[in-house]
């Protein structure tokens, strides 16, 4: 009996002493690859410097695996201190259900509205005039990566836009190369489609389809052109036979494939392979046609908790994530663009500089993550992956189904 009492007193004392020392904040995210882990380490370092403690809760297996776990923890009453989501509509309902903490005070103190690169990023965090998340970076999908070696081997000039790539495709085929590497996972095929939509169709068309959700436009002649380009892409991608995006990128790096449509995170792969932008590989933002970049990216959300200490630590973390020094350190390692316009990324490489220039010109458009619900996105994923794997589906059939999805989209 006495022993138990001592034990209880002892453990209480230990618990008290640690909580007085610093507040532990568990942060869940799905950044587990080498470069990503290094980038998130910058956040942890900056947060620890404030006297609190970052408890890393990385969940392996990409967003599709991690999000259900995060959501069930929040709805199940065991919330973490903070969690990553892609900014956009993934956490919309959690906010509406009152499970997320209001960050408006922090945002106003930090003048987020004045320094943010694209106000749409903050709009996605805003519901009923209150800000619920802290965006941390901008990733864009609209990049065509080209292997200079592949085109030299085939004896054609490196294309300067999508149409030149399509024209050069037969030459690449003759040499046994795959003109356009596309990985087999559904999100990659959808990505190709959306990039064609914004790159070839332009901002207006993209927004009419995904923002206004106009089914007539989606079934109309302009989108028909996109589907015929998608047919070209399917033709050019035959023989890819890889699943993961980085395997497809590797085909471009080794010169087995002419190009790949993939977001700016592909850049990390070229860097690791010690390739130099401009000499070993080329990048064409917006397929070299419409220089538009979408604002895909990540944001942190803070579940509401009944504990003043944790709540204060959450505010602190939101402030740290948005701070200029953390933004620079994080984005250089992540290969993404910063969300603040008042920071200087002098160390950026050629391709990143192209991106920054487009950013400065205001060539940004909301990402599909922000515009359509995950439900609609899944339906489009299903359609696109089926289109790419089954040659018997004509572009016309696919467009008809696409228009149907847009009609019922939310």
């Amino acid at each position: 009996m006495k022993f138990t009492k001592t034990l209880l007193a002892g453990s209480a004392a230990i618990a008290l002493s640690t909580s007085a020392f610093a507040t532990d904040l568990e942060v869940t995210h799905w950044w587990t690859s080498g470069g990503e882990a290094a980038a998130v380490g910058e956040f942890a370092k900056a947060f620890d410097a404030t006297g609190n403690k970052w408890v890393d809760g990385a969940i392996a297996g990409s967003g599709g695996t991690a999000r259900p776990i995060m959501i069930s923890r929040i709805t199940g009453g065991d919330p973490m201190g903070a969690t990553q989501f892609n900014h956009g509509r993934q956490a919309e309902e959690l906010v509406e259900a009152g499970l997320m903490k209001d960050l408006t005070a922090v945002a106003e103190a930090g003048k987020w509205k004045d320094v943010i690169n694209e106000i749409g990023l903050l709009d996605s965090c805003t519901i009923d005039g209150k800000i619920y998340c802290a965006p941390v970076n901008i990733h864009s999908w609209q990049w065509l990566w080209l292997s200079n070696k592949a085109f030299a081997d085939a004896g054609v000039a490196v294309p300067a836009n999508w149409n030149e790539l399509v024209a050069a495709a037969p030459k690449l085929r003759e040499k046994g190369m795959v003109p356009l590497a596309v990985g087999g996972q559904p999100w990659q095929t959808t990505g190709v489609f959306n990039v064609l939509m914004s790159g070839l169709g332009g901002k207006d068309l993209y927004l009419k389809v995904y923002d206004a959700k106009d089914a007539e436009v989606a079934g109309g002649a302009d989108v028909a052109k996109i589907f015929s380009a998608l047919n070209d892409a399917r033709e050019m991608s035959r023989g890819s036979n890889v699943q993961d995006w980085n395997q497809a990128t590797n085909m471009v790096i080794t010169g087995k494939a002419g190009g790949q449509i993939m977001g700016d995170w592909a850049q990390g792969e070229f860097q690791i392979a010690e390739q130099v932008a401009g000499t070993d590989y080329s990048c064409l933002p917006g397929l070299g046609v419409n220089e538009l970049l979408s604002t895909n990216g990540d944001a942190f959300y803070f579940p509401k908790v009944d504990n003043a200490e944790i709540s204060a630590a959450q505010d602190k973390l939101a402030e740290v994530l948005f701070a200029p020094t953390t933004q620079v350190a994080f984005n250089l390692k992540k290969g993404s663009l910063p969300i603040r316009k008042d920071v200087d990324l002098a160390a950026a490489n050629d391709c990143m500089k192209k991106g920054l220039a487009i950013l400065a010109k205001g060539g940004l458009v909301k990402s599909t993550d922000q515009l359509i619900s995950p439900d609609t996105a899944t339906q489009i994923d299903d359609l696109m992956t089926q289109f790419f794997s089954d040659e018997s589906i004509t572009p016309e059939d696919a467009q008809k189904r696409f228009a149907g999805i847009i009609k019922s989209a939310d």
Partner: protein
């Protein structure tokens, strides 16, 4: 008369009744309650969080017009029928062969049952490698000199489901064999002797005497196989991820993806209700045969 006349039926075996209350509650609240809750919410437009806003049969209409759901059902039918037939036939044949009082029976039994000790995830990954054209069977046969040999079921939309079937059978037949063997051992030795005295050939004895006597074993086996078919999920996830395209999707994966990835609970519930219906179609006739028949006693 009065108080001591007859103890109420309700208080008979009181201890046993109290002891079984937790299980009764679990069954009622978790299983039955959960089932009705799911069915109820399948008529709503619940997204990430359940909410009671009824939309009638909209979710079911969408479900039955989704190409992916239709492919899933078709795959489940092909996988289900073939896996039922092949597991029963192969399982019974293996059991009959083992029953011939052969040497090293224990060793063989262990070998055949061994795959069952592996999870579906491991099975799926192993067969993914074996069926991979660049590393597996195709490569081996080609390196033997047959240069035009093609065997890549996992990369061909038309036959991918058979690639999964092979892995499923490899994993599951061992268990069926063991159940059958147990059934065969339950047959009285005298029946064999009598059949032999009458000069009935062995295959006829199996087909017309032994198998009818093993009816209960067959029914149990059938239910085990059938429930394994309906919940097919992890094998597909590990082996093909539903690909190429949507060619190897199955209903359980559809339900999971829509509930947790697409954040559309209503659609997922509609799918799982349809799955429940298919299980009911299997279970109800079985229950009728098993329990309905015994009333004559």
């Amino acid at each position: 008369m009065s108080a001591q006349a007859r103890p109420s039926q309700l208080f008979k075996n009181l201890n046993a009744k109290i002891a079984s209350i937790p299980m009764i509650l679990t069954a009622l609240v978790v299983f039955v309650g959960g089932t009705f809750w799911t069915i109820l919410y399948s008529f709503t437009d619940s997204k990430l969080l359940p909410r009671l806003r009824f939309v009638g049969l909209d979710q079911y209409e969408r479900l039955w017009s989704a190409p992916r759901w239709l492919t899933s059902i078709e795959n489940l039918l092909i996988y289900g029928i073939l896996s039922l037939i092949f597991s029963l036939v192969i399982g019974f044949l293996l059991a009959a062969l083992l029953d011939q009082k052969i040497r090293f029976e224990d060793t063989f039994r262990t070998i055949f049952l061994y795959p069952f000790a592996l999870s579906f995830i491991v099975t799926g990954l192993v067969w993914q490698w074996i069926l991979n054209p660049d590393f597996g069977v195709q490569k081996v046969v080609r390196s033997l000199g047959f240069d035009s040999f093609v065997f890549d079921p996992l990369y061909n939309s038309d036959i991918v489901i058979y690639g999964i079937l092979i892995a499923g059978l490899w994993q599951g037949t061992g268990l069926i064999m063991c159940l059958m063997l147990a059934g065969l051992r339950g047959i009285d030795e005298d029946i064999w002797k009598a059949a032999r005295v009458d000069g009935i050939p062995m295959w006829k004895t199996y087909l017309f005497i032994v198998i009818p006597m093993m009816r209960p074993v067959f029914i149990t086996t059938l239910v085990i196989i059938a429930s394994g078919i309906v919940k097919l999920y992890d094998l597909v996830v590990a082996q093909t991820g539903g690909g190429p395209g949507i060619a190897s999707e199955v209903p359980a994966k559809y339900v999971y993806d829509f509930m947790f990835r697409a954040q559309n609970l209503g659609q997922g519930f509609a799918g799982s209700t349809m799955m429940l219906l298919s299980v009911a179609i299997v279970i109800i006739p079985w229950a009728y045969l098993e329990f309905g028949g015994k009333k004559r006693v």
